[in-house]
Symmetry: C2
DNA sequence: CCAAAAGTGTTGAAACTACACCCATGG
DNA sequence: CCATGGGTGTAGTTTCAACACTTTTGG
C-alpha cells in the first residue's frame, strides 16, 4: 500500500537517444518494451534515476544495462515534464543524446532487445518518445555545424569521404566535395595517417584522425569550428 | 515521521536565471533566502514542482510568486543533478533562463526580497546556483548571435543604439556602429516607427520595433538570423 | 581497359572589416 | 555656439559557391 509520499513528488527518469552511423544512414537505437504500458512497443532506452547517482551516471548506467553500450559520447538534451506523458503517474524525464562509433554500435546490436533503425523510418514509439527523438535529431543537426560532434560517429580512423557522407546523412543535403575538403582540412585538426583505406576497385583513400586535444586548445582561445 | 517513499526518489525543483537590461549593464534578478540552509544568502528564484503542473508552468508560477514577474520569455536551460547539490536531501533542479523587458523589470524590484545585480558583480549564491548562473550566461551569449533573443530584453520600441548597447553588454565587446546598423537593418525585421526617441541635448533617434511574425515566417524557410 | 571513388584549383560574387565626417537637438 | 549622440558610404580583403578533369586501384 503506497503512502502519501509516493505521490508528493514526480518520479524521475532518464531517456537516451542513441545515434549511430553505418556509412549510409543515420540510425537510432531502440529497445522493445517488455512491460505495460506500451508493452512490445519500441522505446528509447532509459529508466529511473537512483538517489546516489547523478543524472549523467544514471544515463550511462541505463545505457549499459539495456544496450551494453559503454564509453559513449553523452550530452544532456532537454527535460520533458508534460503532466500526462506517462499514463501511470507523474514522471519527469531528463533526455540525453548519445553518439556511438560503429565498432561499439555493432556490439550493441548483439545485446538484448535493442535494434538500430534509420532515422527516416522509425516505428511508433512509447510515451512521448517520438517528441524526444525529434528534439534530439534537431539538436544533432543544429550542433553538427559548429561543433565537431561528427567524429563521435566515425571510427577513429576515417576518410574525408566518410566524413562528408556523415555530414550529408545528418544534414540531409548534398555537399560539394572540393569545398568540403578544403574547409575540413583548413582547420588543421585532421591529421593524415600513414595508412590508406582500401575498399574495392578504385583508388585507396587517405585515412585521418581527429585531434581533440588541439581542438580543445583552440576552443579556449575563442575559435569556432563550423563546417 | 517520513515513510520510506520520501527517500525513494529525488525532489524536483525549478530555478530561474532572470536577465534584464537597464541600458547599461546586463543584470540578474536574485532573491534572498529566508530559511536554512543558506539563510540570508542570495539565490535564484525557484521552488518545488507540483504534481499537476508542467515544468514550464512551475517555473512561471515560482517566478510570479517570488518576484511578481509574469509574461516573461522563458526557456529551459539544463537540469542539474549533482548528488550533493542540496545538503538536506537529493534535489534535482530544472534550470530556466528568462528574459524580461525593462518595464516588467522595474515592477519586479518593488516585489518582495528580489533585487537586480549586474552580472559582473554577483554576490555569493546558495547551493550550486553560481554554476547555474554561469551556464545561463554562457547560453545567452551563445544564443544571442544567431537567435533574436535580444528584443526580449528591450522595450517594444527601441533605437538601434539601444540594441547595439545590449549586444555589447551581453557579448562584452565593442561593435562598429555602421556595420552593426547595416546588418541589423539588412534582415528587414526591424520596422521603423513614426516616432523618435528624445533623450537629452542631441539629435533624436529613430524608434523601431521587431517583427516577430515575419521572423517566424523566414525561420521556417531555413533562414538564419546571426548578428 | 573499364568502372568507381579519390583527389585537386580557379574564378566571380558576396560578405566582412576598417574607417571619418556631418546632422539635429537641448542647454 | 557647443556638447552629445544619431546617422551615413566606400574600398580592400576575405570568404563562399560553383564548377570538371586526372589519378589510382581491382576486377
Amino acid at each position: 500500500m503506497p503512502c502519501v509520499y509516493e505521490y508528493s513528488r514526480p518520479a524521475l527518469t532518464v531517456d537516451c537517444v542513441v545515434f549511430g552511423f553505418d556509412g549510409g544512414d543515420l540510425q537510432v537505437l531502440l529497445t522493445r518494451r517488455g512491460l505495460e504500458p506500451f508493452k512490445d512497443r519500441w522505446a528509447l532506452p532509459g529508466g529511473f534515476v537512483h538517489l546516489d547517482e547523478t543524472l549523467d551516471e544514471a544515463a550511462r548506467r541505463e545505457l549499459a544495462e539495456e544496450t551494453g553500450l559503454r564509453e559513449v559520447f553523452l550530452e544532456q538534451l532537454h527535460t520533458f515534464g508534460a503532466v500526462e506523458r506517462d499514463p501511470r503517474e507523474r514522471v519527469v524525464s531528463v533526455a540525453y543524446f548519445a553518439l556511438v562509433k560503429p565498432t561499439a554500435a555493432t556490439a550493441a546490436t548483439d545485446a538484448a532487445e535493442a535494434e538500430w533503425f534509420p532515422v527516416a523510418s522509425i516505428p511508433p514509439l512509447a510515451f512521448d518518445h517520438a517528441e524526444i527523438f525529434a528534439a534530439a535529431l534537431a539538436r544533432l543537426r543544429g550542433k553538427l555545424r559548429y561543433d565537431p560532434l561528427g567524429f563521435e560517429l566515425l571510427p577513429p580512423k576515417f576518410t574525408l569521404s566518410q566524413l562528408q557522407g556523415l555530414y550529408e546523412a545528418v544534414l540531409g543535403t548534398a555537399l560539394d566535395k572540393r569545398n568540403f575538403r578544403k574547409k575540413a582540412l583548413g582547420f588543421d585538426l585532421l591529421v593524415p595517417l600513414n595508412e590508406k583505406h582500401r575498399d574495392g576497385a578504385h583508388r585507396p583513400a587517405q585515412l585521418f584522425r581527429f585531434d581533440p586535444a588541439k581542438y580543445r586548445r583552440l576552443k579556449k582561445q575563442g575559435f569556432l569550428f563550423e563546417l
